[in-house]
Symmetry: C2
Subunit: 477 residues, 2 copies
């Protein structure tokens, strides 16, 4: 895919003014906040999507909202594209720069501003990592719910941009369900606030609109998020099945019965083997598919919920039910799951799709996914958030073989189209970025896409913010 | 307030063409779908806000999305304002027509299209009443969570327009948290679909934006909503306190401890007396403030949650704790609460604000509310969704006394400003409508308001959809 990546053509007038622009930025910001030497730009040349690299014009790392506003005001006047960046962990290429763009990194804005337990909120700067919010409130018995696998590194600003999810979002929702307010710098440098500590707001829900808009509507500099009380206890339980089909229909039946566990994660045989080899998590190796179902609450509640789940699993021919006996064992189970991408990366190159489907279609989509990948002569491992239908097929290939890489990309595109055709959507949590940009026409009608782009223009008429992402490059107004 | 209500000036060209317009509408729709005789227009001249009446140009009652699209296409070309209407239960004047507008009523589109338990969704036409969704799935053990007091009458389309809430939204969220997808007709008649049965969508969250946009971005004709499994059991419990302050700080402590009951409703002494006299719900009359706290789950879970709540309530000097002994008693407790507005209407005219505040400010805002109302020589009854800080002061006055009516309005405005100044917002569930339109400047900066209006223009450049609502009339672009 790296060969094929297109960006909007660079603006020659911007490229020609590079020296002036850097000197102007140095007037606006302290010197340590402006990165412009080629060597120093290298860490910003790509993200976690694929090995595609391009140096940006410059990088700014502001320390506060006023500095972000100054940069945006300047770039707006000067017509310079801006690519916002959190930790650069995007799996869809959301933070990949372009050569005429300034990367605006939020990493220096990593302060927790306020913890307010009476309102169960944390207000933080956008560069705070996801996990550090939970860490800051852990001893008081709270946590922040969305938990992307990259939570050690990824920032809340990036999470907001992509409306990130995670294994525990089945019960608690994704980022948009846990975000109460933001401070945001508009493209012209104006600072606005959306939402707050209250549940709803008067007027339009611009906060909901901004969440998941991939840095195209403004630069979020501060966020107020919902804190949740840690449950009395939590218990991940392993359910092993002979086939993926049994496991898939079991998931649909659990949710269809109205039970909402904290998490239902799915692994097929290749995924189990890869993760077990890496993490020694104690996954059963004699099964064809594995569900990790986490329940929480008091011992009695967990027992009662589990009993109902076991009964449903029995109807779907469950082979192994294994409750973990200790916190260490529970941590290992999650370690295995959360290191799935890293573990896969040790044995092959891979691309990971995150199409999402209605639960009733889970087994069908898994089966069709296998057929698609087989047709291209490739292998696939499935490890995903089954409870909310958020598929993660990892398509394995050899990146040094351009033909195989092209096949992997094509297979991935077919799988995403399959998800859409099954009544689902292109992305459950990773965002559109560059990766799924050209598939947007498969999900949306021309009128729907036009309406989204008109809304975009209501924030950024000149397409300065992260311009080459989300929408197909052809046919832009 | 009725004296002071302003609309955008009627378009003379529209008024002059009334006969042609009606004849054109009769070409587009079956005759029974076009209402134009003065007498037949009367039921559409106002809503549940205040006794302000104005006849619209005509009313159309389409039977399907295609007919809605035909009407919109026509009105867009002809430059005719359109006021969408569900059941007309708006408390903020959201459905009050203007004389140059066509009221587009969705009442004939009241079909439940699909129940899909595997995905826990119901797909319905926009004119379906809120309660009838829950009724349709009750025997299968499910319900639709948001429950406005008007749920017997109000429609899901109206709920989406106002992002409606209800007593049980503390645990399950308001409309936006339970809405998965819509079919919507744009101002020019184009039909688009937003969301679906899946959790998230690629591209911008236009669904979230549409929810709460008060009919200004398009006409929702179908909705897919989340169904929730009925809990094993549910139990409302009464907690009586000597003072509103004790009750208010108890609420903040319950939520601050991380417990999320299904509902925490608050009544002060005047509200208790009014509701008890009407519903004979068995509320204690010797207390100064009452909380209705509902817990749910198995008997063991309810016992455990209640024990924690009782312990917190004791720390705040709770005087009476009364668990109900039967389903009949539980129903009575809720009947008393849900009939609060009707019961109040029997003894006085009232206006009801729905400002929402951070929980830490509950007691402060209650106290200041009393002071404000006293200053105007009026009385107030408070009955509201305390768990999410959604205040409902009912300001009592005599509508036949214009001076008192003006005072009530002024007091209401001061209370809403108080809510905003306490870190809250103008409306938790009733919407801005006409009522709070001019207070939007108190909540939002010029830049924030301008951004909302630019987004509006991205859907409806000519301000045809519900044009006199939500934004101050002065200074519109």
């Amino acid at each position: 895919m790296s060969e094929a990546i297109q960006f909007l053509p660079p603006r020659p007038s911007v490229l020609a003014r590079r020296d002036t622009i850097i000197s102007d930025l140095l007037d606006l910001l302290p010197p340590e906040c402006v990165v412009h030497e080629a060597r120093a730009l290298v860490p910003f040349e790509t993200d976690a999507f694929i090995s595609y690299r391009r140096l940006p014009l410059a990088v700014v790392l502001p320390k506060n909202t006023a500095q972000v506003a100054a940069v945006m005001k300047y770039c707006h006047r000067a017509g310079i594209p801006v690519v916002p960046r959190g930790a650069g962990t995007s799996l869809s290429g959301g933070a990949i720069p372009q050569e005429d763009a300034i990367v605006l990194g939020l990493s220096r804005m990593s302060r927790i501003i306020e913890l307010d337990y009476a309102n169960r909120t944390a207000t933080v700067q956008a560069g705070v990592t996801n996990l550090s919010i939970s860490e800051a409130v852990a001893t008081d018995g709270f946590f922040y719910a969305p938990d992307p696998s990259s939570q050690l590194a990824c920032t809340i600003g990036g999470n907001i941009g992509m409306n990130s999810g995670g294994a525990h979002c089945l019960k608690y929702g994704v980022t948009t369900n846990n975000l109460l307010g933001v401070k945001m710098v508009l493209v012209d440098g104006t600072v606005i606030e959306l939402g707050g500590k209250h549940l709803d707001a008067a007027g339009y829900d611009l906060l909901g609109l901004v969440c998941g808009s991939e840095g195209q509507l403004g630069i979020v500099t501060e966020a107020t998020v919902r804190l949740i009380a840690k449950p009395e206890g939590a218990r991940p339980v392993l359910f092993g099945f002979d086939t993926s089909e049994e496991a898939g229909s079991c998931v649909a039946d659990i949710i269809g019965s109205g039970i909402i566990p904290v998490a239902i994660e799915f692994m097929d045989k290749p995924a189990i083997e890869i993760c077990e080899a890496f993490a020694k998590a104690g996954y059963p190796l004699d099964v064809g598919a594995l569900l990790i179902v986490e329940v929480e609450g008091s011992e009695a509640e967990m027992d009662a919920t589990l009993a109902s789940i076991v009964e449903i699993a029995r109807r779907h021919g469950v082979k192994t039910v294994r409750e973990c006996q200790s916190a260490t064992e529970a941590a290992l189970i999650w370690k295995g799951r959360k290191s799935a991408f890293g573990a896969t990366g040790r044995i092959a190159d891979y691309i990971c799709m995150d199409g999402t489907v209605p639960l009733g279609k889970l087994s069908y989509v898994l089966e069709e996914t296998s057929k698609i990948v087989e047709r291209f002569g490739l292998r696939v491992a499935n490890v995903f958030h089954a409870g909310d239908g958020n598929m993660h097929p990892l398509i394995l290939f050899n990146a040094n073989d351009p033909e195989e890489a092209a096949k992997a990309e094509e297979a991935g595109n077919e799988i995403l189209k399959l998800c859409v055709d099954a009544g689902g959507c292109l992305t459950g949590e990773h965002g559109v970025g560059i990766e799924k940009r050209d598939l947007m026409r498969h999900q949306y009608s021309d009128a729907e896409l036009a309406q989204q782009m008109t809304v975009r223009a209501a924030f950024d008429e000149g397409w300065l913010l992260n311009p080459s992402k989300v929408f197909p490059l052809e046919g832009r107004a």
